[in-house]
C-alpha cells in the first residue's frame, strides 16, 4: 500500500489532501461543506494557473522567478487602461494581458536561449525590472475599486453552472495545458529537454527554442492571472502578489515536479497548488497564532518535498541498477 502510494505521487497527494481535510474538519466542521470547498478551489484558481506555467518551465530545467512580477505588471497595465478608458471591452483587456504576459515571458526566454544566461539570474533580473516598471507606469499610485469599471470586476465573479468564471477559467487552463503536455510535440519536447538535454538535441529538438516556448507559456499564464488578480481583489499597486513566486514554485515542488527537470505532470501541479490552497484557506479558520501559521506552512512544504525527494531518489537507484545489470 505504502509502496503504491510512494510510486504514484498524484495519488499520494490526493491522500494527503484528504487527510488534511479530515484534520481541518475536526476543528472546523463547516470547512468540508461543498460550498466552502468550491470557495477554496476558486481561491486557489490563480495559483493553479500560475503553477501550470511554472511547471512547463521547471520541466525544461529552468525556473521562472519573474511570474509574480509579470502578473503584477500585466495587472497594473490592464487596470490602468480600464481606469482611463472604461469603454474598452473586458475580453480585449484579457487578451491584452495574455499577450503582454507572453511578451514579458519571451524576454526571459530570449535571454536564456540566445545569451545562455542562467535562468535564475535572468528571471531574478526581470523580476526587479517588471516591478520597477510598474512603479514607473503608476508613479506608485494605486488603481482602486471605484476607478475600475463594473464589467472589469464582474467577469471572474460571474457564476456559470454554480461556479465562478474564475474557477472555470482554471479548469479550462488545466485541460488546455494537459492536452499540450500529453498530446503535442511541444509537450513531449518539454519532457525531453528537461530529462536529458543532450539526448533531446540528438532527436532533433532545439533545446533553446523549447525553453523559449516554456517561458512564453508561463508568461502568458502570468499575464492572464494578472487580470484575474486585480479584478478579484479590485486593487492594483506595485506590490501586489509580492513574494507569490515562491508559492508558485512551492506548489510545483509539492506536486512532484522535479527541480532537476524532466519529471512532472499537470495533475501533480494542480494537486500541489490545491494542497497549498487548502492550507492557506484553513489556517485562518482553525484559529491558531499567526506565528504558528508560518511555521506550519513551512513544515508542510518541507515534509512534502522530503517525501518527493525520497520517491525521486529511489527511482534513480532502480534505473542505475538496471544499467549495471546489463
Amino acid at each position: 500500500m505504502m509502496k503504491i502510494l510512494m510510486k504514484n505521487r498524484e495519488l499520494l497527494l490526493v491522500v494527503a489532501i484528504a487527510a488534511l481535510l479530515v484534520l481541518i474538519t475536526l476543528r472546523f466542521p463547516a470547512f468540508i461543506e461543498p460550498a466552502n470547498l468550491a470557495r477554496v478551489y476558486n481561491d486557489t484558481s490563480i495559483l493553479i494557473i500560475l503553477a501550470l506555467g511554472q511547471m512547463a518551465v521547471i520541466m525544461t530545467r529552468c525556473i521562472d522567478l519573474s511570474m509574480a512580477a509579470n502578473l503584477a505588471l500585466c495587472g497594473m497595465v490592464v487596470a490602468m487602461i480600464n481606469s482611463v478608458a472604461p469603454g474598452v471591452p473586458v475580453p480585449a483587456l484579457v487578451l491584452l494581458a495574455l499577450l503582454l504576459g507572453a511578451f514579458l515571458g519571451s524576454i526571459n526566454g530570449l535571454l536564456i536561449w540566445k545569451l545562455e544566461i542562467p535562468p535564475i539570474v535572468v528571471t531574478l533580473g526581470t523580476l526587479t525590472i517588471y516591478r520597477g516598471t510598474i512603479f514607473l507606469l503608476s508613479g506608485g499610485a494605486w488603481i482602486n475599486a471605484h476607478q475600475m469599471s463594473d464589467a472589469f470586476k464582474a467577469l471572474p465573479r460571474a457564476t456559470l453552472a454554480g461556479l465562478p468564471v474564475l474557477s472555470w477559467l482554471s479548469v479550462l487552463m488545466i485541460a488546455l495545458i494537459y492536452i499540450v503536455m500529453t498530446r503535442t510535440p511541444l509537450g513531449r519536447a518539454f519532457h525531453a529537454v528537461g530529462g536529458n538535454p543532450h539526448a533531446a538535441v540528438y532527436t532533433g529538438i532545439d533545446v533553446g527554442r523549447t525553453r523559449f516556448a516554456a517561458y512564453c507559456l508561463s508568461g502568458a499564464l502570468a499575464g492572464l492571472s494578472g487580470y484575474l488578480w486585480v479584478s478579484r481583489y479590485a486593487v492594483a499597486y506595485v506590490d501586489i502578489a509580492n513574494g507569490f513566486e515562491l508559492d508558485i514554485i512551492a506548489a510545483c515542488v509539492i506536486g512532484g515536479i522535479s527541480i532537476a527537470g524532466g519529471i512532472g505532470s499537470v495533475p501533480g501541479a494542480v494537486l500541489g497548488a490545491l494542497f497549498l490552497g487548502v492550507i492557506k484557506n484553513a489556517l485562518p479558520v482553525i484559529n491558531i497564532s499567526p506565528f504558528a501559521q508560518m511555521a506550519i506552512s513551512g513544515t508542510v512544504i518541507i515534509i512534502a518535498v522530503a517525501v518527493n525527494a525520497r520517491a525521486e531518489k529511489r527511482k534513480g537507484r532502480v534505473i542505475l541498477k538496471k544499467a549495471e545489470a546489463h
Binding site: W142, H146, Q147, P284, V285, N287, P290
Partner: protein
C-alpha cells in the same frame, strides 16, 4: 551645478517675495513639503492658505523639492534662510540630514517646526504629529461602535503580527474597549499587508464568526481587501468594514456600502495647524515641554517631553465627504 541650482531657487523665491512686497510687514511662513505635486501635501497647503487668510498678516510660502530627497529640502531651506522667512514648517524626508540646515535657520531667529514626518529634536522647536496612538486606538473602535448601537462581535484585521504601529494601536484600542458597551472583540488576525492574504483572512473571519458585525482594519491594504471580501461574500449591510484607509482607495467601497466610515488624518487640518503653531511661535510663544500652542479652529496642542504634540483625532470619512477627499489623496 549645486550653486547654480541654489541661486536659481533663491532667485525664484525672492521673485515670489517681491511680488508680495506690498505686504512688507506680513509674517512669512514657509511650508516645506517632502516633494511638490503630491496630493497629500497640496491638501496641506490648502489648509495653510486657509490659516493665512484667517490670520490676515501671514503669507504662506508653499515649497519643496521636486523629488523626495533630503538634499533637495536642504537647498530649499538654505534659500528660505537667505530670504529671511519668519518660520519654517517642514515635513522631512530624513530625520537627521536636515538638522544642520535647520539649526542654521534657528540661529538666525527663524522659528522651525516639523509636522507629519518629523526631524530630530535638535533641528526643530517642536514636532506636530497628525494624531497619537491613544487617539487612533480609540477612534478605530469608536468607528465600529458608532454603527452598532446594540453592540456585537467585531474582529481586527491587522498588518503583520510584528508591525509596531498596528500593534500599538490595537493595544490602545483594547485599553478603551470597556468604554464601548456590548462591543466584543472576538479575534485579531493578520493579513500581512498582502491583498490576497488579507482577503482570505477576512473570509476566514466571516466563516468563523457568523455573528460578526464589524471588521476593524487599521491598515490601508487590509481595509480595502476586507471591504472587497465582504462585498464578494454578499455581507454588505451585515458586516461593516472600518479602520484606517485613504479616501481615494476607499471611495468605491464606501459607495458599495461595505464600509460606512473610516478614518485617517486630514492633511488640510495638518497644514492649517502647522501654520497656526508657527504663527504662535513667531508671536512669542515658547515651545517647551508642557507648553500649549494655539492651533486656531483645531484648539491647542500640548507638548510632551520631546516637544512633540498630537494634533487631533483622526478625521472620519463617510459617504458625505469621501468623494471630495478622494480627489485629494
Amino acid at each position: 551645478m549645486k550653486l547654480a541650482k541654489t541661486l536659481m531657487m533663491t532667485a525664484a523665491v525672492s521673485l515670489a517675495l517681491m511680488a508680495n512686497a506690498a505686504h512688507a510687514e506680513n509674517k512669512k511662513i514657509a511650508l516645506v513639503v517632502k516633494a511638490l505635486g503630491i496630493g497629500f501635501f497640496e491638501a496641506a497647503n490648502k489648509g495653510a492658505q486657509e490659516a493665512a487668510k484667517e490670520l490676515g498678516d501671514v503669507e504662506v510660502i508653499y515649497t519643496g523639492p521636486t523629488t523626495t530627497t533630503a538634499e533637495g529640502q536642504i537647498e530649499v531651506i538654505n534659500s528660505l534662510i537667505a530670504q529671511k522667512v519668519d518660520a519654517i514648517a517642514v515635513s522631512a524626508n530624513d530625520t537627521d540630514a536636515l538638522v544642520p540646515a535647520l539649526k542654521k535657520a534657528m540661529d538666525r531667529g527663524i522659528k522651525v517646526i516639523s509636522w507629519d514626518s518629523g526631524v530630530a529634536k535638535d533641528g526643530r522647536l517642536m514636532h506636530l504629529n497628525p494624531s497619537s496612538s491613544p487617539l487612533i486606538g480609540n477612534m478605530i473602535i469608536k468607528l465600529a461602535a458608532d454603527n452598532l448601537p446594540d453592540g456585537g462581535d467585531v474582529a481586527v484585521l491587522s498588518a503583520t503580527a510584528t508591525s509596531t504601529n498596528q500593534n500599538v494601536w490595537i493595544e490602545e484600542m483594547k485599553k478603551v474597549q470597556g468604554n464601548y458597551k456590548g462591543i466584543n472583540v472576538v479575534a485579531t488576525v493578520y493579513g500581512d499587508d498582502l491583498a490576497d492574504k488579507s482577503y482570505r483572512e477576512t473570509q476566514g473571519l466571516i466563516q468563523s464568526y457568523p455573528n460578526l458585525k464589524a471588521i476593524i482594519a487599521p491598515t490601508s491594504v487590509g481595509i480595502v481587501a476586507a471591504a472587497q471580501a465582504v462585498e464578494d461574500a454578499g455581507k454588505v449591510g451585515q458586516i461593516n468594514v472600518t479602520g484606517l484607509g485613504l479616501p481615494s482607495e476607499m471611495a468605491g467601497h464606501v459607495k458599495a456600502g461595505s464600509s460606512k466610515s473610516f478614518a485617517i488624518w486630514n492633511p488640510i487640518d495638518l497644514g492649517y495647524s502647522a501654520t497656526m503653531i508657527a504663527y504662535d511661535l513667531i508671536g512669542g510663544a515658547e515651545a517647551k515641554p508642557g507648553a500649549e500652542l494655539k492651533m486656531g479652529r483645531m484648539g491647542s496642542v500640548k507638548l510632551d517631553d520631546n516637544n512633540e504634540g498630537a494634533m487631533a483625532d483622526p478625521f472620519v470619512y463617510d459617504a458625505s465627504n469621501v468623494e471630495e477627499f478622494a480627489k485629494i489623496f
